[in-house]
């Protein structure tokens, strides 16, 4: 493939960032908005072309026609920092099933959000938000970083863009920088993810120290033609053997490879908000809602999942690391689903829902084994990543429309909005059905694949995850009913009734709703698998339906329907049931409502232990010893400077004397020393 289009895909958002960032303040608001949106639109089209070419062109660079195996193609790869001949950091573009998939997801959601923000970032009277152009500049920066992350050809490039993504997330969460809560949320997000990235960096260093390479293809694939690679377990085994044969293959009872993989996964835990590093994501909802849809639901937060998927053949080599992923994912999924049942801020509910759903993907990757249905879990995780991005972005954008109309994040200020905002109502309902896993919406298929894969691995986790799936359906419909039903909406005196938003905001809703209805039928088994081999002989629109394991599917459908019915009974009309439930289990409710006191725990650790026991003594040392030394030096310098000032008398005779004495002394002292 010619590298022209891939280069433009990366260069265009970067250019938009520079243009909007440098000259945005001189542009009129609509110009900046349209420019940003158009730029993203073009990027989206180019990404579609690239992904389409990759999946369907049948080009031998991309697919091995004989074995029906999709290949990895390095479109371009330039040396960036060449430290030594072997230690080279490159910047490139790797095209393989998951990067092509992510290209589509990122550009689609990003374009929808760009379009949507044209309406969202102004109030009812058409007054633009302060910093509107800056907002678009940051959105472009984020899109650029995210695209650079997914097409990385080596782990170091990924790390660079990983940090860029974190930085642009920081900028966007703190977009309302005059609001203290937004500022502290952006700080929190940055610090927590940065802490996790420390693990990531250590993992990278350990891995590359032992293997002498950064390239993904060197970890997981074999070269079949120039620039074309094929995923192979053999290479990953080679890496494992290389580490086992090294001087120090073990560290504290675990193999170095396990350590490296777990440390790398720690970076993924931070970005993907896995427990216990999840605390930043709910707070990140302080950013504008389109940002939450783009970054904190669809794209950046799945970077951790993507990272694990990218190195999946290596993870396969160490059972322990996969088990850790499963446990972390399962615990997080249940925890987040429980918390989501008790939140009153609609964006927080969606945030915890996101955490829970990403945990689903993690579990799915963790239970994937090549022996079971060609690594069904891997494919299911990626499938869920795709469908979740669509319906979660939809839900967030709906939430944005509601917030925009009502002016509050609490559902207590909403209730009964179905008549006032019909389009938002229908699309939100579709989103809820999709996430609850009702046939034929998108979430049904992907969630079903995940549960099937989990059942193939262990029954315990299957039951566990089915329970979480039921909780998901429950809290989503709780939210749905509380927003759109419960009781009649009271319009405060002097206000006009809430209504659907302008077309720039409703169009993305409609498009994403349609996608959420249809995305489940995409024959993913033939597009994205762990080693690129196609699962089906031939595909049609109903391939996914035919491939369903109906035992699992009917159980999960039943669970979802029961949960929805329960939610209907409890929340459709105003009734005392919810408060009765709450009073029946007060402790559980309180713990859930306070998110199991994780934030308080962190506060205790940072403020009491770290600040009090470590920072304070260091601060004292700095203030008295370090500063004191510096002050002393400064004092001595000042005094000596004062003392020698007469040397520069302005008297030329004296100058010459000093000169002469200096020259003679120089000679004399050296001569004496030589004797």
């Amino acid at each position: 493939m010619e590298p022209v289009i891939p280069i433009i895909i990366l260069a265009l958002p970067l250019t938009m960032f520079l243009v909007l960032g440098l000259f945005g303040h001189k542009m009129k608001h609509p110009v900046a908005g349209v420019l940003g949106t158009a730029g993203m639109g073009v990027t989206m089209v180019l990404a579609y072309i690239t992904a389409f070419t990759y999946f369907f062109s049948g080009n031998p660079e991309f697919i091995d026609a004989d074995t029906h195996t999709r290949l990895q193609a390095i479109v371009f790869n330039v040396d960036w920092l060449a430290f030594t001949d072997s230690l080279v950091i490159r910047l490139g573009f790797l095209l393989d099933p998951i990067s092509a998939l992510l290209l589509v997801v990122i550009t689609t959601i990003s374009f929808m959000v760009h379009l949507y923000s044209n309406g969202y970032m102004r109030d009812h009277h058409g007054v633009w938000e302060t910093g509107f152009q800056r907002f678009y500049a940051f959105l472009s920066l984020f899109s650029f970083s995210m695209l650079g992350l997914v097409v990385a050809t080596n782990i170091f490039q990924m790390y660079i863009f990983w940090e860029l993504v974190g930085a642009s997330s920081y900028l966007l969460i703190g977009f309302y920088y005059t609001k203290p809560s937004a500022v502290s949320a952006s700080k929190k997000a940055f610090i927590v993810t940065r802490f996790a990235d420390l693990g990531f960096l250590l993992g990278i260093l350990v891995l590359s120290f032992y293997t002498g390479t950064f390239n993904f293809t060197d970890f997981t694939s074999t070269e079949v033609a120039e620039g074309v690679y094929r995923v192979s377990e053999g290479t990953a085994e080679g890496i494992r053997a290389m580490i086992q044969n090294s001087a120090a293959p073990m560290f504290m009872g675990a193999s170095v490879l396990t350590w490296a993989l777990v440390l790398i996964f720690m970076g993924g835990m931070g970005k993907s908000a896995m427990m216990p590093l999840h605390i930043w994501l709910p707070d990140a909802m302080e950013g504008p809602t389109p940002v939450s849809a783009l970054i904190h639901a669809a794209t950046m937060v799945v970077a951790g999942v993507y990272l694990v998927a990218r190195l999946f053949p290596l993870y396969l080599m160490e059972e322990a690391s996969l088990n850790i992923i499963v446990v972390v994912g399962a615990l997080t999924a249940l925890y987040a689903a429980m918390v989501a049942c008790t939140q009153i801020d609609i964006k927080r509910v969606l945030a915890f829902s996101t955490i829970s759903q990403i945990a689903f993907m993690m579990v799915s990757l963790g239970v994937a084994r090549p022996e079971f249905h060609h690594g069904l879990g891997y494919m299911a995780g990626m499938f869920h990543l795709f469908t979740h991005a669509m319906f979660k972005a939809l839900l967030f954008l709906c939430a944005g429309a509601l917030i925009h109309a009502i002016g509050s994040n609490d559902y207590t200020a909403m209730h009964g909005l179905r008549k006032h905002m019909p389009i938002t109502h229908i699309t939100f309902l579709i989103g809820c059905l999709a996430i609850a896993g009702i046939i034929p919406f998108a979430g049904f298929f992907s969630k079903d694949e995940i549960l099937t894969a989990t059942l193939g691995h262990s029954t315990l986790w299957y039951v566990w995850m089915s329970l979480v799936a039921g909780l998901t359906a429950f809290y989503m419909f709780r939210l749905y009913y509380l927003i759109f039903w419960w009781k009649e909406h009271k319009v405060p005196a002097g206000h006009h009734a809430p209504h659907d938003q302008p077309w720039t905001m409703t169009l993305p809703l409609v498009i994403l709703a349609v996608v959420s209805c249809l995305a489940g039928f995409v024959p993913f088994g033939n597009l994205v698998t762990w080693n690129g081999e196609e699962m089906f002989e031939s595909v049609s629109f109903i391939t996914n339906l035919k491939a369903l394991d109906w035992t699992v599917a009917s159980v999960s459908l039943a669970v979802a329907v029961v949960a929805i019915l329960l939610a209907t009974v409890m929340y459709k009309k105003e009734n005392p049931l919810p408060s009765k439930m709450k009073n029946a289990l007060p402790a559980l409710w309180r713990w859930c409502h306070h998110r199991f006191y994780w934030d308080e725990l962190y506060m205790f650790i940072t403020h009491k232990i770290i600040f009090g026991c470590i920072s304070k003594p260091i601060a004292w040392f700095d203030r008295h010893i370090v500063d004191g030394t510096m002050d002393g030096i400064a004092y001595v310098v000042q005094r000596s400077s004062y003392a020698i000032r007469t040397l520069q008398s302005g008297n030329i005779q004296k100058y010459v004397w000093v000169y002469l004495i200096g020259a003679l002394l120089l000679g004399a002292v050296t001569a004496v020393c030589l004797m």
């Binding site: 302005g650 020259a663 001569a671 030589l674």
Partner: protein
């Protein structure tokens, strides 16, 4: 005689041609056209600079039975100086077009070109006669240039001080040379090196001290520096900037050539230790005085003294890497210092103010000038990512590579001094950006030429460090140099 030898001197001849053309223009053109002398010189010099980059390098050639020698390194340092001179020429346009300069405009340029010719000879001379001719023609006209501001008392005073100390220093230098001649019976660099043998006796050490003091005067090393502050302050700003960068750069290179080519075998026996002492004293005393200065030009005078100490670090390493680091340091120093002098000159031409207190609040009235000044200060102080950081880094690295304990201590002292220097460089930035006082200098728009000069300097300060091309090409030229052939 083989006249093609003159071709080896093409860079010198080029300067001579530029000089003659300017001289003819100034003498024979009608009075009206004389306003364009400055532009004419600058353009001519630009052409010469470009030509010198393209055709200046003739490889390693010894001409006139070894009196004159050129090599890629020599041609490179001349090109570096050319760039600096070009910036000085651009920056001086406004000043020379002032009313007071009407009758002296041409003289300024002619004298400047003559001194440049002298510096070229210093760089390429391999015989002390030629070297002294170069040294003197680089020194004496400078006194006239310092006195160019005829109506200012300080200008005269500075010129007198300069010429008297210069004469004195020349006398000491010649005295040292006569000792050397007495010992070796020759004035050719390589002959002297052969005749002197390897045994350092007292007379030689004294001669060495005298020679070092003679060149040290041009570099304003402590204790031969006392003229510097008075002259820098009194001279017109364009002359000061020329003195502080070009003259110093040429002297530093010539210094290295003499020490290595003539006295190379006494490196560890004698002059290594002399240099250590001079460097420590120079950097420290320069810094200590710079802290107290209130006048910007005087302040930069002491700053340039301590910078000279850093330049000398490239010599003590005594290898190709040190040579490259030194040349790179000179290049960066040219840009940083000229940026500072460009701002000072622009403000002085407009308002006549040169005190540091006048710069209070400059960022509010003239943000671009303040910005250029800030970059210059950052670069001189060695703050990354500006060029000054890289030049300091390379010169420290090259010195440390020499590997003895003494040099570690030397570099450590130099590093501590860098921190002290940060203080006074930041004083200027503080005055411009943080001082709450009302701006002393009203907003104004500098002349076109001044702005052009400043943009070039700012671009250099930013790009020279980040773009590796510059350092790489210098190190390439230095790697092939035969200067160190004598040191076994």
């Amino acid at each position: 005689m083989d006249y093609s030898q003159f071709l080896a001197m093409r860079q010198e001849l080029g300067v001579l041609i530029v000089f003659l053309l300017v001289f003819l223009y100034d003498t024979f053109m009608p009075k009206k056209a004389l306003n364009a002398t400055a532009g004419f010189t600058a353009i001519l010099f630009l052409l010469f600079t470009v030509a010198s980059f393209v055709w200046g390098n003739v490889g390693t050639v010894d001409a006139f039975s070894g009196m004159y020698s050129t090599s890629p390194v020599c041609s490179m340092i001349k090109n570096i100086l050319n760039v600096g001179v070009l910036i000085v020429l651009i920056q001086s346009v406004r000043w020379t077009n002032g009313e007071l300069m009407t009758v002296r405009r041409g003289e300024f340029y002619e004298l400047l070109l003559v001194t440049l010719f002298g510096m070229y000879l210093m760089i390429s001379a391999r015989h002390f006669l030629l070297f002294v001719i170069g040294l003197e023609s680089a020194s004496l006209p400078l006194a006239a240039m310092v006195a160019m501001d005829k109506n200012r008392y300080e200008s005269h005073e500075a010129a007198i001080k300069y010429i008297l100390t210069a004469v004195f220093s020349s006398a000491i230098f010649m005295m040292g040379l006569s000792f050397v001649y007495g010992l070796a019976g020759s004035l050719y660099f390589n002959d002297i090196a052969l005749q002197l043998g390897t045994q350092a006796d007292t007379l030689l050490v004294v001669a060495l001290a005298f020679v070092i003091s003679g060149v040290g005067f041009k570099l304003s090393l402590v204790p031969f520096h006392l003229w510097t502050a008075d002259v820098y302050q009194g001279a017109p700003t364009s002359v000061t900037s020329y003195l502080s960068v070009i003259s110093k750069g040429a002297a530093a290179f010539a210094f290295l050539v003499i020490l290595v080519q003539v006295f190379g075998q006494f490196y560890s026996a004698a002059w290594e230790w002399m240099l250590y002492a001079l460097i420590i004293v120079t950097i420290t005393v320069g810094n200590l005085f710079a802290i107290r200065q209130k006048n910007m030009k005087r302040f930069l005078a002491f700053s340039s003294i301590s910078q000279a100490g850093y330049i000398m670090l490239g010599i003590v390493g005594c290898n190709e890497m040190g040579l490259a680091a030194m040349m790179y340091y000179i290049l960066v120093y040219i840009f940083s210092n000229l940026a500072a002098f460009g701002v000072i000159g622009a403000i002085e031409n407009q308002t006549g103010k040169v005190d540091m207190t006048d710069y209070n609040g400059l960022s509010r009235s003239n943000p671009w000038l303040a910005f250029a000044m800030m970059l210059a200060m950052f670069s001189l102080a060695g703050i990354p990512p500006f060029a000054g950081f890289f030049s300091k880094f390379f010169i420290f690295t090259s010195a440390i590579n020499q590997g003895s304990t003494a040099i570690y201590i030397l570099v450590l002292i130099a590093l501590i001094n860098t921190i002290a220097s940060l203080y006074y460089y930041l004083l200027v930035v503080k005055a411009m950006y943080i001082s709450p006082e009302e701006p002393q200098i009203p907003a104004f728009r500098s002349a076109c030429s001044e702005r052009l000069g400043m943009w070039i300097c700012v671009a250099g300060v930013i790009a020279l460090g980040i773009v590796s091309f510059f350092y790489n090409s210098i190190i390439e030229a230095a790697a092939g140099s035969n200067l160190f052939a004598f040191i076994g």
